[in-house]
Structure formats: structure tokens, C-alpha cells
């Protein structure tokens, strides 16, 4: 396996004084599905944005295929890295197909518009995710889960080598969460490298081969899910008791233990 992205001693700060995270070392190999876990406010989303040079590190460096990302041009970077933000609020009523077609932008020159080939790739991306029927729907009128799929399709149309997903499951219902994880797993099978953040330790077992736990501004531990997602680590990161169970030989699960509440049965209104 070859290293595709390498983060060395990264430190980031919004105001120059208090750093959001520091001493972050992380390497991503081709085909990895890396899940970054950690409590709110430890800088998971910030780290993802740094990986895409949307934010600039205070110190340290990020190497993409042995090249410093801050020395790369936007289009060059966008051909290698695709990014799906946590939420997206388009103001204008674009059609789903237009949105997906925007994924072709890094492959176009400044003044050119998408051509036939780009239309085919965009349509292919919609087909891959099984949402070709939504093609002509208005993006601002579809549900959150559908939007997530559309953004995924756009990222696929972009044909990147790495996909960064910022909490891809946070706005989704139970079924869509699992379907999204399945898509992520399938994307990794066709050679795409995925880095995502998540709030659900259990999702690491479902779709990832690598987990990093971020806590108190740095990476606490990194490795295979079975090794990193432990009862002890979860207690440390989130402060809650969890149980790691083997449901069968293919499925390990992380479930929270009963919520301790002294006055539970006071009636239901």
C-alpha cells in the first residue's frame, strides 16, 4: 500500500492564539476508509477542511502524493480530492443534474462549459447511486437524505482519488445512514480513498478499516477499528460507558450502556 496523504505535526488555530488541534500526525494509504471519531469541538471538521486546503494550518504540513497541498493550484487539488460538506444550502433552485454536473468543474478550463462527455459522466454518477430518476428534480425541494446522495454523486462525477466527507450521516435517518455507509464501502472497493468524520463509533465497524480518535486537540489513537474502538477509549473520548460486542463473526458493534437516570418512571405525558 502506498501513502496517498501524509499529515505531519499539524497545528491549526482560528485566531492565532488558542489552537484547535496540534501535534496531529496522520497518514492515509490508498484505498483506506479512515473514520475520525471524537467529541464535539475537537476539530474534526476543521482537520477535514485543512486536508482540502480550505483552511490553512498554523504549522506542520500536509503532503498529498508527496506534494505540499498549499503549493497546489485549486484545480489540481480538486482533481485529486473531492469534498462533501456537512450541510449545503443552495439558494438558487438548480436541478439535481446541474448540481452533479458541477462536479466536472475542475476538469474544465476557465471559460469552458461542460461538454457531452461531462454530461455522460454526471449521468453515470447518478446511475451509480441509483438516483437517476431524480435528475430533473429541484435540489432545494428534495429531502436531506436525497441531497446527501446528490452531493455524493457530484463527488463521484468529480472523479477524485480521495473523498473527504464531513459527517456524512449526521442529517440522515437510520436507513439512509446505513445506505450511505454501504456506498462509502463500495467506493473504497473501486479504489477510492475515503476520509470521513463521524459521531457514531459503531459506524467505524460498519465501513472503515482505520479509525482515528481525536480528543482534546490531538489524535489520541489511530489504527484498526477492532483495536482502537474499545470500551476504555470510548469512555475516555466521550465520557460514556459502552460495550463492544461481537454480534457474529462478521459484525462487531459498539453500543452505549443504559443511560443512568434515577427518576425514570415518573410517568409519560
Amino acid at each position: 500500500m502506498s501513502k496517498i496523504m501524509d499529515i505531519e505535526n499539524a497545528e491549526f488555530s482560528y485566531n492565532g492564539k488558542k489552537s484547535v488541534f496540534k501535534n496531529v500526525n496522520l497518514s492515509v494509504e490508498k484505498g483506506d476508509v479512515l473514520c475520525i471519531l471524537g467529541p464535539n469541538g475537537t476539530g474534526k471538521s476543521t482537520l477535514i477542511k485543512c486536508m482540502n486546503s480550505l483552511l490553512k494550518l498554523k504549522s506542520g504540513k500536509i503532503l498529498l502524493k508527496n506534494k505540499n497541498i498549499y503549493s497546489m493550484k485549486e484545480t489540481e487539488l480538486a482533481k485529486i480530492i473531492g469534498y462533501i460538506p456537512q450541510s449545503n444550502n443552495s439558494i438558487f433552485a438548480f436541478s439535481v443534474f446541474d448540481i452533479v454536473l458541477m462536479g466536472r468543474t475542475p476538469h474544465l478550463s476557465l471559460t469552458s462549459v461542460p461538454r457531452k462527455n461531462d454530461y455522460i459522466i454526471a449521468e453515470e454518477a447518478l446511475k451509480n447511486l441509483g438516483i437517476l430518476h431524480m435528475k430533473d428534480k429541484i435540489y432545494t425541494e428534495i429531502s436531506g437524505g436525497e441531497r446527501q446522495l446528490v452531493l455524493m454523486a457530484r463527488a463521484i462525477a468529480q472523479q477524485p482519488e480521495i473523498l473527504l466527507l464531513d459527517e456524512p450521516t449526521s442529517h440522515l435517518d437510520f436507513g439512509n445512514q446505513i445506505r450511505t455507509l454501504k456506498i462509502i464501502k463500495e467506493l473504497s472497493k473501486i479504489g477510492l480513498t475515503v476520509v470521513m468524520t463521524s459521531h457514531f463509533p459503531d459506524h467505524a465497524f460498519l465501513s472503515c478499516n482505520k479509525v482515528a480518535i481525536m480528543n482534546q486537540g490531538t489524535i489520541m489513537e489511530i489504527g484498526k477499528p477492532e483495536i482502537v474502538v474499545t470500551e476504555h477509549n470510548m469512555k475516555q473520548a466521550y465520557g460514556v460507558d459502552v460495550k463492544i460486542l461481537d454480534v457474529n463473526e462478521h459484525r462487531r458493534a459498539c453500543i452505549p450502556m443504559q443511560v443512568q437516570q434515577p427518576h425514570v418512571d415518573t410517568g409519560c405525558f
Binding site: K49, N52, S53, L54, K73, E74, T75, E76, L77, A78, K79, I81, G82, Y83, P85, N88, N89, S90, I91, F92, A93, F94, S95, D98, I99, M102, G103, T105, P106, L108, L110, T111, S112, V113, P114, I138, T140, E141, Q158
Partner: protein, 343 residues
């Protein structure tokens, strides 16, 4: 599937035909409207006989009316309407805000100040136009550098900065009005600020053709990029767009267009806000179609309004007043229709 595509194609073709033919028909129609009656055949003869050596046998007044009075004014109205509309649409996309108008960065107030100074010092008409244009640019440059200095690349800061700069220049305009001679200069300044095309001649049109052509061409070429910009900064950058440079380019083009427009017409409100919305209702939000549609609709709209201005009453109605009187109710109507573009 095939049938649906066909229907869509038919719709597209008929829409395009309408959007192209409307301004052209109105262009020729407008020659016939006005104090001095000119018949359709005379208009055609007056135009054709200049290019083709035929014996038109026309009164020389007809030539003067068609070539020296109406033609510059018609072209000016079309350019101003198109320029304000395409700038409005581009700004709305770039700033991800459907309520932005082309003078959001202070260009109109700057131009107004320039014109007021020029009028105060009794400059010639050409100089009034030039100073208005230059001060329009100065105001936007101030806004842009202010926002750069304050907060790097923040859209909100830029828009708020624009409001501040516009307020500042408005105050300067008031100052000059206060200083101006109330019998001669003051009415002239006030009338300029109301917006009118009555002073337009072929020279003033020739002066703005260069900058406006650059603006139109560049914006039409980057329509796709404006689509991506309208998705928000982070996403646009993740899709390989250098948002800062792209936004600067859009601002540059829109400022060229708006400053040129304002420099010959004075301040004309509402066109740059309302026409983009109307166009978006017809062709959708895709700037590859929206921007050409804005040119067509904007040109048609302002020419129509200007035709009314110069014929409806015995004294010319200032154009800016009429666009506001028409624009505001249209805007309310669009709001009422629950148009999806804003929520």
C-alpha cells in the same frame, strides 16, 4: 422519454426565439415613437439609405431624428438595461444572495458623487460622464480593499462595507447639493441623480461601448463558474474554483458595466434587482442561460420604460422614477408568487 425531450427542446427553441426577437422588434418599433412622427417606411428608408445608395428622398429632419436623436437613445437604453440586469444577476450568484443589486458595493453613489462634483464645477457633458465613471470605480475599489483589510475574504463584510461606502458618498453628495447654486446647479444635480437618458448623444454611447463590451463578454464566458460560486465558498473551492480571483473578476466586470451605465443614465434603481428574478423565473438559475436572458429582458424592459418616459407626458419623466414605480410592485408580485429562488 423521447417525447419529453422533444417538448423540452421545443420550449427551449421558442423561448430563445422570443428572447431574441423581442428586443429586436422593440428596437425598430422605438424609432417610430416620439414627438416627431416618423412612419415605419421612413424609418427603414432613413436607415437603409445610409448604407445602400438609393434615392430615399427624405426630409433631412427625418435623418436627424432617426440617426442623431433616437438611435443613440435607443441603444443607450438597451445597453443600460442589459448592463444593470446582467450585473445584478452575476452579483446575486456570486454573493449567494438574491437580494443583492448591482450597486451593492457603492458604485452608484460613487458615480453620483463624481457627477455632482463635475456639475458643480461646470464641466462639459463628456467630463461629467467621465468623472461619474471614475468615481464609480473608486467607490468599489474602496469597498473591496476595505473588506480585504478587515476580514480577508468574507462576503458579508464586503457587502456591509459597500453599504458604508455608499452611505459615505451619499453624504458627500448631500454636501455638494448644499453648496450648489439653488437656481442653476442644484436642479441639474438633482435631475442627474433621478436618472434620465434625455442628455444622451452618440458620443456618450460611443464612450461606454468599449467597457460594456468587455463586461458583457467576460461575464457570459464565465457563466458556469458563477454557477459554482453560487454554491458557497467552501464548495466552490473544493470544486477547483479560485473563489477570490473569480469573485474579483465578477466584481470587475459588473463594476465596468454598472459604472458605464450610471455614467450616461444617472441612477436607475430596481432594474438590476427585479430583472434577474424575472429572468430566473423564465429560464431557471443556470447562469449559462440566465445571463443572456438578463441581457434580453433588461434591454427590452428599459427601452420600453424609456419609450414611455419620452412620450407619455409633455415634459420628460425621469427614467429612475418610472423604473421604481414599475419595479417595486413587480418585485412584490414576484414575492407573492412564492418563487422558489428565495426562502
Amino acid at each position: 422519454m423521447n417525447r419529453r425531450i422533444n417538448r423540452e427542446t421545443i420550449r427551449n427553441i421558442s423561448l430563445t426565439t422570443i428572447l431574441i426577437s423581442f428586443p429586436i422588434l422593440l428596437f425598430f418599433g422605438s424609432f417610430m415613437i416620439g414627438r416627431y412622427p416618423v412612419s415605419p417606411t421612413d424609418v427603414i428608408l432613413a436607415i437603409v439609405s445610409v448604407f445602400v445608395p438609393i434615392n430615399a428622398n427624405l426630409d433631412s429632419t427625418v435623418y436627424t431624428v432617426v440617426w442623431d436623436i433616437r438611435l443613440p437613445r435607443i441603444i443607450a437604453a438597451m445597453i443600460v438595461g442589459a448592463a444593470l440586469s446582467i450585473s445584478g444577476a452575476s452579483f446575486q450568484g456570486t454573493f449567494q444572495n438574491p437580494l443583492v443589486s448591482p450597486d451593492i458595493l457603492g458604485v452608484s453613489s460613487g458615480a453620483g458623487f463624481g457627477a455632482a462634483i463635475a456639475i458643480l464645477f461646470s464641466f462639459s457633458a463628456v467630463m461629467i460622464q467621465t468623472t461619474a465613471f471614475l468615481f464609480g470605480l473608486v467607490a468599489v475599489i474602496l469597498t473591496y480593499s476595505l473588506s480585504k483589510r478587515l476580514r480577508g475574504n468574507n462576503i458579508l463584510v464586503m457587502v456591509l462595507g459597500g453599504i458604508a461606502i455608499a452611505a459615505l458618498f451619499s453624504a458627500f453628495i448631500s454636501c455638494i447639493k448644499y453648496l450648489a447654486d439653488p437656481d442653476s446647479k442644484l436642479p441639474e444635480i438633482v435631475y442627474w441623480l433621478m436618472g434620465s437618458l434625455s442628455a444622451v448623444n452618440s458620443n456618450s454611447v460611443l464612450m461606454i461601448i468599449g467597457p460594456t463590451l468587455i463586461g458583457f463578454a467576460a461575464l457570459l464566458l464565465i457563466g458556469w463558474r458563477i454557477n459554482v460560486l453560487s454554491m458557497g465558498d467552501d464548495e466552490a473551492r473544493a470544486l477547483g474554483v479560485n473563489t477570490e480571483k473569480m469573485r474579483l473578476l465578477v466584481i470587475f466586470c459588473c463594476t465596468l458595466l454598472t459604472a458605464s451605465a450610471v455614467s450616461i443614465s444617472g441612477i436607475i434603481g430596481w432594474v438590476g434587482l427585479v430583472v434577474p428574478h424575472a429572468a430566473r423565473m423564465i429560464v431557471g438559475p443556470d447562469h449559462r442561460k440566465l445571463l443572456p436572458a438578463c441581457i434580453s429582458l433588461g434591454a427590452t424592459f428599459l427601452l420600453l420604460v424609456d419609450d414611455v418616459c419620452r412620450t407619455a407626458t409633455s415634459i420628460e419623466t425621469p427614467l429612475g422614477i418610472l423604473t421604481a414605480i414599475i419595479g417595486a410592485p413587480v418585485f412584490i408580485y414576484l414575492l407573492q408568487k412564492g418563487y422558489e429562488g428565495w426562502s
